[in-house]
């Protein structure tokens, strides 16, 4: 390792030649992820804007649709996702303090919690989708479209059009969120593999930090989705 006047970490194997030192390289990488997240805010922003317009217009249908979702399941999943953000934050901390084995364990814990979240989501979706194919249960079909059954929502004199808008937004927003998790989990797995092979040190753990930023952003989206979808109106 040759330390030069350029700064700590110059000469490190992970340092690309166009950066002065690892600190500058890390700041550039983090900035790139923040700009990506800024774009993601507007990507989800379109759905939030649509949500605002239709909730303003159809408060009763949104309350009825929301009451039909299980807040207990949403609450459980919120805690699971916050837990996965915590294990991710601790993984970054462990990487910064040079505990490589613990980084692997914490990243695997993050993947596990993410998997639990998606498993619960799979169960929730199934409950709403299965009746659409005539499974003989009493539950109504809640997928917007021809087979949508508004009777379970107890909306007076309403064919269920606005309720279908609520469930369109429910599937659209939670689906896009789940897609972000499905993308994130394999990336975390790859970085856990890098940690396992001893690629990180307190001088260089930028990939752990960057995937952490992404994962926390996905957590923030859910922090807003939970009250907006599951907790509309007084329960």
């Amino acid at each position: 390792m040759s330390e030069t006047a350029a700064g700590a970490g110059s000469g490190h194997a992970a340092l690309q030649h166009h950066f002065v030192d690892l600190e500058q390289q890390k700041e550039a990488s983090a900035l790139g992820m923040w700009v990506f997240i800024a774009q993601e805010v507007l990507f989800f922003g379109g759905l939030f804007a649509a949500y605002a317009v239709y909730r303003h217009q159809y408060p009763d249908a949104f309350a009825a649709g929301s009451h039909h979702l299980s807040w207990k399941i949403g609450f459980f999943n919120t805690l699971v996702l916050i837990g996965s953000s915590f294990t991710m934050a601790m993984a970054v901390y462990s990487a910064a303090t040079g505990r490589a084995k613990r980084v692997v364990t914490l990243l695997l814990a993050t993947i596990l919690l993410g998997g639990v979240f998606l498993g619960v989501k799979y169960f929730e979706y199934g409950e709403k989708i299965r009746p659409c194919f005539g499974d003989g249960s009493h539950a109504g079909c809640l997928v917007p479209g021809e087979r949508f059954d508004a009777s379970a929502l107890h909306l007076e004199g309403d064919p269920g059009g606005p309720a279908q808008i609520f469930f369109s937004l429910y599937f659209g927003m939670t689906g896009l969120h789940a897609l972000h998790m499905i993308v994130g989990i394999p990336i975390i797995a790859v970085i856990a593999g890098m940690a396992w092979r001893g690629r990180f040190s307190p001088e260089y753990y930028t990939p752990v930090e960057i995937v952490g930023l992404y994962w926390h952003f996905v957590d923030i989206i859910w922090i807003f989705l939970f009250p907006l979808l599951y907790l509309v109106g007084a329960h």
């Binding site: 600190e23 923040w34 800024a38 379109g46 915590f86 930090e209 930023l213 922090i223 009250p227």
Partner: protein
Amino acid sequence: MSEHHVVSWKVYVAVFLALCALTAVTVEVAGHDFGPLNLVVALAVAIAKATLVVLYFMHARYSPRLTSLVIASSLAFFFILVFLTLTDYVSRPWPLAAAG
């Protein structure tokens, strides 16, 4: 070169516990009817949680000022998107009549 900031793990535990507590708060307040303020209360709790995540889990508090600029501009454009959309929809008759 900015100094290397490693926050104590106790901060992460405290933020995690605060996030869990605020999740319980958001469910609890949803059980009360504040009328038109329901949405305001729900969003206030969510914004508090998101702020904790951004400042501590995402290290925005210890990041260069350029990061704050990216976060601020992202939020500014998000509010333009939602606010200007709502000024339009809220001030028009509904359902939107076919223009012909």
